[in-house]
Symmetry: C2
C-alpha cells in the first residue's frame, strides 16, 4: 500500500481526471442496467475501449426488481460496518511465539465461525481476501463465503479483495452470481489487483502484463454485470462474441473496485460506475481525501450518481486501550516484519505501531470507545458509506479475534452510529 | 455418451491396456501419498511425462492421518449411494409445458434444499455437475457445494463432473481443498471432460486442444494431490517450478475421474491411481463390463490396489412404476429432444424411453422396489462401490424431485443393501 502516491494531492488527482476525460465514455442513467435488462439491447455494438457503464439504483427511488439496491451498501447518512480477514493462521500454542501454526482447514473453519458471530452481533458485511501463501488459509474466497451463507441469513458477504488480474472474469462472475443465489442476494465482490504478486506465476501469468490484465478483465467484468450477451475484443484472450454467462442473478451483482492509493485506479472505478473501497493500511486516513474527492468528481464527469466509498483498515478491539494494544502489537510486528523481509522494508518498530495507533493513524486499535471515536472521525473526514475493520492480525489468536468481533458489533458500531448522528 | 466405444469389448480394451503398458509409470505403494507427505521428498525430479501416482489407503489397514480413507467412498461389500444434479430449471407453472422456466437463483436454492433432504434421508453422496448453458443453473459447483456444507453434517459433497479441460487445475484444487475444510473432510471432485463443449469458447480455449488440455491438466492435478511443491513442464501453460498450492487439506483430497465410454480415459484414470465414475446414460450397464474390467487390470498393472468404481445414471422414483414413468417421460423426452437438436439426433421416442426403463436399460425409473432391483443388478454386474442416481430430469418439478429423493434415501437404498447382502 502506497501513501506516497497520494502525497502530491489535488494536483495529481486533477491531472488524472483530466487525462481520463480524454477517454470518451457514454453517459449513463442511474437505471442503465435495469433499462438495458428490459430492452435487451445488444451491448456488442459498443466500442471495445469503452464499456457500457454499470449503474445501480437507490431503493427509495425505484423499488424495482432487476437492479442492485445500493442503499444496502450504506451511505454517509446511513453507513454500514464490515469486518475483513484473509484467514491468517494462529499458533497451535498461543504461548509459544515460535511454535507451529495451525493447519489451513482449521483456520478456514475459524473464519466461518467468526463470520457467524459477526452476523449474530449485527455486523453488516463480512469480507474475505484472497492470497496464495502458506501464512493465509484463504485462496478461494467464494467457497468460504458460500459456507458462511449456509449458516447466516442477514450479513452481506464479499471479498477484500478478489485478485481479478490473475483470475478469469467469467469464472469470477459465475462464482459470485452463484454465491448471490445461495445467500439470497447477499453477495458482493471487490475487484482489485492485490498487494501480493504470488498469483501471477501460479496461474502462468507475467507481471509484465500487470496493468493490461487488470484493465481488460475489469472491462469484461463490467460488461458481464449487465447480464446480457457480451461481445468484447482485446489482447489478453480470444474475443467474446455475443457470449451469455450463467447463472443470472435476481437483482444484479454488487461489484466494488478495491484500490490502494493509485489515482488511475480510482478514476477507472468511477468510469465504470462502480463503488470504491480504499485500503488504508499506512499513513493517515486524512491523506486519502484527495483520492475520494477525485472519485466523486470522476463519477460526476462520467454521468453517474453518487456511489458509496468504503475504507478497509486493520485494527483490534479489546476491553481497554492497553489490553487491545498489548494483544495486537506482537502479532502486527511479526506479520509486518515477515512481509517486510520479502519487500525490503526494515523491522517493524514500536514507534510505527504507536503512530498507527494514534488518533490519526491507520490502526484502529483500542477500547470500543477509542475505536468508535476514530472510525467516526475517519468516516466524517472521507464521507464514507462503509467502514471495514481488518480484524485478523497475523497470529492473533482466534479467541481474541472473537472477542474483538463481539465488541465491534455490540459496542463499536452502535457508538459510531451515535457519534455520526450527533455530528450531523 | 457413446456406447459404441465399448462395443468391441475385450479386444479393444486389451489393445488399450497394451498400448498404455508402453508408457513407463512408476510402481506405487498403496501408501505412496502418506509416505511422500512424511518424507517430504521432492516430486520435481520425476519425469514430466509420468506423474507420481496418487494412492489412497483403507482405514482398516492404517487409521493414519494425512491420507485419504477410500473406505468412505464405498466398496462392493459396503457400497455407498449418491444423487446427482446439474441444477435443471423447472417451469414456473408445471401445468404449462411451454411456459417460462424459473430463474437460476431459485433453481440453485432448490438444489441446496434437495441436498439437505438427501442428507436427512441418509444418502451418502451428493454431486452437482457444471454446465455453461441457460437450461442448467450450476456453473460453479464448488460454491453450491459449500453452501450445502454449511447446512449438512454427514453427506459427502462432490461434482458430476468438473470440466477440468476448461478450468485451471490449481484453482480447482484450491476450491475443493477449501470445500474440504468447510465440510470437515467431505469434499470430493470428479474430473472429466464433460459432454458439452460450451466452456471452450467461453474460456478462450480451442476444441482442437481438447485432448492435450485434459491430459496435461490431469497430470498437474495428480501432482497437486500430493500436497508437495510441484514442478511440471508441458505445452498448455508456463512451467511450474517447485510451486506450493494452498490451502493444504487435513487428510488429502478425494479426486475421481469421470468417463463416458472411452477406454483411453479409463486406462489413464488407473495410471494415476484415481477412482473411476462411469457415466451410463444410454445402452445397458452390462455393456460397460469390459471397461470396468480394463480399469481393474490397468490398476494392477500400475501397481495400485483396487479402487472404487461408481456409476452415474439417470432415473426417477415415485410410489408406483406407472407414476414414475408418467412423471419422468415428458421431461426426459423434452430434454433429449432439445439436446438432440443441437447434436443432430432425432426426436426422443417412447420406444427409446421404454428401452431405457426396461430391466437392462440405463434409466433407473419406477417404484422403489423396481429401482432397487435394477440398481442391485447393475452393481453386481459391474462390481460397483457406489451408485449415483441423476435424479434431476430437465423440467421435472422440484416437488417430484424431492419425493424421488425421499423414496431413494428411505426405501431404495436400504432395499439395495438388503438385496446385495442376500446375493452374497
Amino acid at each position: 500500500m502506497s501513501t506516497s502516491a497520494v502525497s502530491s494531492g489535488r494536483l495529481l488527482a486533477l491531472a488524472v481526471l483530466r487525462r481520463s476525460l480524454d477517454h470518451p465514455a457514454p453517459l449513463a442513467s442511474i437505471r442503465a442496467r435495469l433499462a438495458s435488462k428490459r430492452r435487451r439491447t445488444s451491448s456488442g455494438s459498443a466500442s471495445p475501449r469503452c464499456a457500457p457503464p454499470v449503474a445501480m439504483s437507490h431503493s427509495d427511488r425505484t423499488g424495482e426488481d432487476g437492479v442492485v439496491d445500493i442503499d444496502l451498501l450504506g451511505s454517509p447518512q446511513s453507513p454500514t460496518f464490515g469486518l475483513d480477514t484473509f484467514g491468517d493462521l494462529e499458533r497451535e500454542q498461543a504461548a509459544d511465539a515460535d511454535g507451529p501454526l495451525i493447519g489451513h482447514p482449521e483456520a478456514i473453519r475459524q473464519v466461518v465461525a467468526e463470520a457467524v458471530l459477526a452476523d449474530q452481533v449485527g455486523v453488516d458485511f463480512f469480507g474475505v481476501g484472497e492470497h496464495h501463501r502458506p501464512d493465509f488459509a484463504i485462496s478461494a474466497p467464494d467457497v468460504v463465503l458460500a459456507a458462511i451463507a449456509g449458516q447466516t441469513s442477514r450479513i452481506r458477504l464479499g471479498t477484500s479483495v478478489t485478485v481479478l488480474s490473475s483470475d478469469d472474469p467469467i469464472r469470477v462472475f459465475q462464482r459470485f452470481a452463484t454465491l448471490d443465489a445461495v445467500s439470497r442476494g447477499r453477495a458482493e465482490v471487490t475487484l482489485g489487483r492485490g498487494s501480493f504478486t504470488e498469483s501471477f506465476p501460479l496461474f502462468g501469468l507475467s507481471l509484465d502484463d500487470y496493468e493490461v490484465l487488470f484493465s481488460e478483465k475489469l472491462e469484461i467484468f463490467a460488461r458481464l454485470l449487465r447480464e446480457e450477451p457480451v461481445s468484447w475484443e482485446g489482447s489478453i484472450r480470444p474475443p467474446l462474441e455475443g457470449v451469455s454467462v450463467y447463472p443470472r442473478t435476481a437483482r444484479g451483482l454488487v461489484a466494488w473496485v478495491g484500490v490502494g492509493g493509485t489515482p488511475e485506479s480510482v478514476a477507472r472505478a468511477a468510469s465504470y460506475g462502480l463503488p470504491l473501497v480504499v485500503a488504508v493500511i499506512g499513513g493517515s486516513p486524512g491523506q486519502f481525501a484527495p483520492l475520494v474527492d477525485l472519485y466523486h468528481r470522476a463519477l460526476e464527469h462520467y454521468g453517474h450518481a453518487t456511489l458509496p466509498v468504503s475504507m478497509h483498515s486493520p485494527g483490534h478491539v479489546a476491553a481497554t486501550d492497553e489490553l487491545a494494544r498489548e494483544q495486537m502489537y506482537p502479532h502486527q510486528a511479526a506479520a509486518f516484519t515477515r512481509i517486510g523481509r520479502e519487500r525490503g522494508w526494515g523491522q517493524y518498530t514500536p514507534d510505527q505501531f504507536e503512530a498507527g495507533a494514534g488518533p490519526q493513524g491507520a490502526l484502529f486499535v483500542g477500547s470500543p470507545e477509542t475505536v468508535a471515536q476514530k472510525i467516526a472521525w475517519a468516516m466524517r473526514t472521507l464521507g464514507l458509506s462503509r467502514f471495514q475493520l481488518k480484524y485478523a492480525v497475523g497470529t492473533l489468536p482466534h479467541e481474541q479475534r472473537m472477542e474483538s468481533i463481539r465488541l465491534y458489533g455490540t459496542e463499536v458500531v452502535p457508538r459510531v452510529r451515535e457519534l455520526l448522528a450527533a455530528g450531523g
